[in-house]
């Protein structure tokens, strides 16, 4: 029953919203100049990332919440392989993580070899996170645009601001800020601010693109 506690929350719906390269196909409706600009930028992102098959990187996660006296810092490794493989692993201060390989999902605490299968459908936070990754990686622009209003924060380096459209998501997430690498090939950092004023910032470092990833990672 304890797991059910997670069922009603989607606060981490876009934790790794822009962890993967993305591309946004142009819509058919008439766009205003702002939208036109966004469309051009997204096309550039899509073009830059279309050659990317795998990503591996370290990440630094910084969480700020009124619950804690100090920000909660964590570091770990992230791996992605098209179309539906992802591994998210915390290394410090404690080891834990999960990996998704299509329909199969496993997670672990402390020792990655002592993993357990789990139902992604029962973990809305992980489900939302992986859905986002796969949607962006799969180029499901319609899905992204349907869920978020997109605005440009900066052009060089490129930064986007995403605001949820769905009331359920709005209840938890106020804003998502994404920054891209100078060549637009990958996401440099992502910051999620929730309604309670808490935030999570994730920075990706030591990014390697299109390397061969070991099969047993997923």
């Amino acid at each position: 029953m304890k797991k059910k506690l997670t069922d009603h929350l989607a606060i981490a719906i876009a934790v790794l919203l822009a962890l993967s390269p993305c591309f946004l196909p142009a819509g058919e409706r008439e766009r205003n100049p702002g939208e036109e600009k966004i469309s051009q930028i997204l096309s550039s992102v899509a073009k830059a990332s279309s050659e990317i098959k795998t990503i591996s990187s370290d990440f630094i996660q910084e969480r700020q919440t009124s619950m804690l006296k100090e920000p909660l810092m964590a570091t770990g490794r992230f791996y992605f392989e098209r179309p539906q493989r992802v591994r998210w692993e915390f290394l410090k201060p404690s080891r834990s993580g999960f990996s998704i390989n299509g329909e199969r999902a496993k997670r672990w605490k402390d020792d990655p070899d002592q993993w357990q299968r789990f139902d992604v459908g029962k973990e809305p936070a992980i489900k939302a996170m992986t859905e986002q990754i796969f949607a962006w990686a799969g180029g499901d622009l319609a899905w992204i645009e349907k869920r978020y209003e997109i605005a440009i924060r900066s052009e060089e380096p490129l930064g986007l601001l995403l605001t949820p459209r769905a009331p359920e998501e709005k209840k938890y997430i106020r804003l998502i800020a994404i920054s891209f690498s100078p060549d637009l090939a990958y996401v440099d950092s992502v910051e999620i601010r929730d309604r309670e004023g808490d935030s999570t910032r994730i920075r990706f470092i030591h990014v390697a693109l299109n390397t061969t990833l070991p099969e047993n990672l997923f």
Binding site: K4, T65, E103, A125
Partner: protein
Amino acid sequence: MLLISVFLLQRITLNEDIRPMLPDRDPELAADFSLLQKAPFVQKVVINLKVGPGASIADGIAVSDRIAEALTPPHFSRVVSGPGAINPEELLPWLAGSLPHLASAEDLTRMEESITPAGVARRLEEIYGKLQSPEGWAMKSLLREDPLQFSAVGFEKLRSLNFLKGMKIEKNHFVSVDERNVLLIAETPIPLTDSKGSRDLVQYTRNILEKNVPKEMNASFVSGHVYTSANAETIRRDLFVVLSCASATILFLLFLFMRNWRALFVYLVPTSVVCIATAATVLTYQAISAVTIAFGSVLLGISDDYPIFIFFSLRDRGPFASGELLGISRPVLFSGMTTMAIFAVLFFSDLPGQRQIAYFSIVGIVASLSFSILVLPHLLRGMKGQRSTSRSREGKTRPLRRFPILAVWGALMVLSLWQAGRLSFNGDMRAVSMVPASLKETEASVKETWGDFRSSAMAVSEGVTLEEALDRNDRLYRYVKEKVGPGQIVSISPVLPSARTQHENEKRWAAFWTEQRTEQLKGLVVKEGNRIGFSPHAFDPFFSRIRERGDILTLDGLRKAGLGDIVDSFIWRTGSTYRVMTFLPDTPDVSALFQARNDGLAGTRFISQRRFSETISGAMARNFFKYLLFASVVLIVFLLVLFRSVKRLILALVPVITGLCLMFGIMGVAGIEFNIFNVIATLLVIGLGIDLGIFMVSKLTEGVDRNTELAVVLSGLTSLVGLGALMLARHPSLSSIGITVSLGMCGAIPSAVLVVPALSRLIDRP
């Protein structure tokens, strides 16, 4: 008359279900039965999808979704595959906020035990660790509101609503713990008593499953409709087999023994009688039970006794004057009246089906007597007499054989009486219902996988207001929880107690969470939290919630929290009466809890299939001995009036007594339980046996000849054929009558032909 009957038969409505064999005069029992029908799964079709080794549970879930989509109106109104209606976003805050009204004294004790410095520190460290992960971060609001997991108390209470013990939720579907089965619960508007509708429903469901279930999976379903359909199909097939076999064999026997084309007239009597009796029953009752129709074969066998006796009397006598008919008819009339009187006993039965059989049989016997005495002699008028040359008071029994016969008979009687003591009553309607082997297997498999949720006992708390019913339900829950254990009880009381209980809980909560205790706990949480890294106000929402009392829980509140479907399985309103159900294991121990008088359980009714069967068994046993007594009195009075001799009375009773003793004795030896249909069988043995006794004793006074023996043997054989045909039936109720009465007749016929003359000689010896 026959033409009118045939016309009436056009409007026949056949009733194939078991209702006619359920008591309708005892309002308590009728109410119990009505409530039993409302048990949550009785009217639903439960589909179990078993996933084979070549497929995953995810595949099974996908297939179950396809099946659910395909099960549509008018056959199905709704299909439930999981707790979809429950919205955790509504339910969880509701549950957490409801604790002041729900937490019992034991719950507060458990909370108190968890509030220790070590316990609090461990829990806060867990929370800190969780905040690192996405799922932990997603839970942070809840963690702030309930760091010590007090809401687990509420979750525990939700368990009390769970019918399916072997279930877990996977992708919002009911899945077995071993992840090899998926469950669908389909609601249908088709009543269980609608045999045609049930047949269509079963066929429709089979087609849907065949179409949607791949080879690596196996789908089966259980429902009362499957029983209804199986029973109706079996009875229809039985009617054809039984009536055809009985008619053809009786015709053959008549020709074999009579060797006269006029045997056809004799045959016309019972066949006409069955038509007339059926038409009269349809006219009186509107619908006729299939069991009654099947009883037509028995009526064939009984009602041909009178024309057979008339036939042989007239053949014995040769040409006769009209005035002589009275003398010939006297034993026939008495025999018929005695049989009618015995059947009349069934009018006192609580079972409408037995009363209908009584009416059907009595109308048939009256018609048979009328035809035999008023019509048949005129049709046989031209028949040549074949008077037997040898007449003796012993018939074929020679003096040398008399003693061995009586010795064997006596030994058999003693043995039978001894074994009859082992006979047991079984009032379980399932014992006389048609349950195909495949259905038994499915039932067992579903029970093993999901628990025995389809045959729970129910305790119904009633009240003129919902509050009264809930209050009684609370008392019941407290009572049974002590005796049965909470894990065995499915009750709404822990989640929706009465307002009175809620006020008591609230007072207790307030007394527990004193200012001092709250401040002490807050101090502890802040201290431990500070050490781990939490800010001093991290868990303020928790302490605010403890102080909140909230509103009292209501039915509407539960509905808004998404528990509407579940609540409707527990609470019904019929007219001005509210009923709250509690489901318990149907065991003798639980049943015994409700047998002792308990004022605390006033307004609560306990209903279970086991208890229902026990009640029927008890009523059946009482009625049975009442019937036996009444039938014995009737027999003695009639026989005394007929024979005016105690000796002849005893002789005439020999076939009855022998038949009954042998029947009960063999049932005792073979372990055949006595069911409600055997009550009818017993009366049949009495009725048929006394016919043979009366014929035999009547003729003994004149001297037994070959015609008398032929009449007795033939009427006994035709009765045996009529009843024996029932043994060909697949339906347990019909075959049960056939087997038991045949056993009885196997004793009655030889005793009439052999023992009665032998005893007659012994009794009359100077």
